[in-house]
Symmetry: C2
Subunit: 109 residues, 2 copies
Amino acid sequence: MRTELPVLEDLRMNLPAPDVTDAAAAAALLADPIRASIVRILRDGPVCVCEMAASLGARENNVSNHLARLRDAGLVRPVRAGSDTRRVYYERDEVACAAALASLREVLA
Amino acid sequence: MRTELPVLEDLRMNLPAPDVTDAAAAAALLADPIRASIVRILRDGPVCVCEMAASLGARENNVSNHLARLRDAGLVRPVRAGSDTRRVYYERDEVACAAALASLREVLA
DNA sequence: TGGACATCTCACCGTGGCATGAGACATTCT
DNA sequence: AGAATGTCTCATGCCACGGTGAGATGTCCA
């Protein structure tokens, strides 16, 4: 069901500007392949930094930086667990991820 | 239902790296507020460049540049229609938008 | 206790992206 | 025909972002 163009169209110069701040922020986070991969990997359960770095072929250094971005945005959170407490496992915040997806769906319909 | 960490965890150094190229590309497009707004605006039907520019408070120049990015990605397409053929209306490619959303859903679950 | 390991943080640098301005082109109006 | 309008493209400048390296912290192992 598509809106047909009026026969004699008048310019609609005051269309409301949509609020896309949440969607744009979520998209900016996922725009980097490493961050997108991290979020995707964590779908299957907690993974520690060195495992992600090995899987992605990136330096743990770099992965840690991207994790900081995702952590600040609330998409992932550290889970200090395991016998070796040097390692830091990360898990997704499913509520935040669902909210991010919802904001993107609001744009892409 | 969350996967519990094993009591004695071993490092999984060969986790498969997910393919997130499509999702990252889609996210990069929506990462800019103007582009995200354009895609959102076009949900309600075709709109011409000057209308979008007015709605967003941006220069038509700038909007046209962002439209070129979206057009190259296949998310929108120009529709030369109307009595004044100077104006260019744009409409969304719903199939491409759905594909983009699907790739993002694949990441955010 | 010393060394290896895992992670985090910060500063630096190079690249890419966005906004801008100017110019070109087609179309409509007077 | 000439002016104004709507859009596109390209070149430029600036800024933010990602990758890297070094250093600090804390933990495990010999």
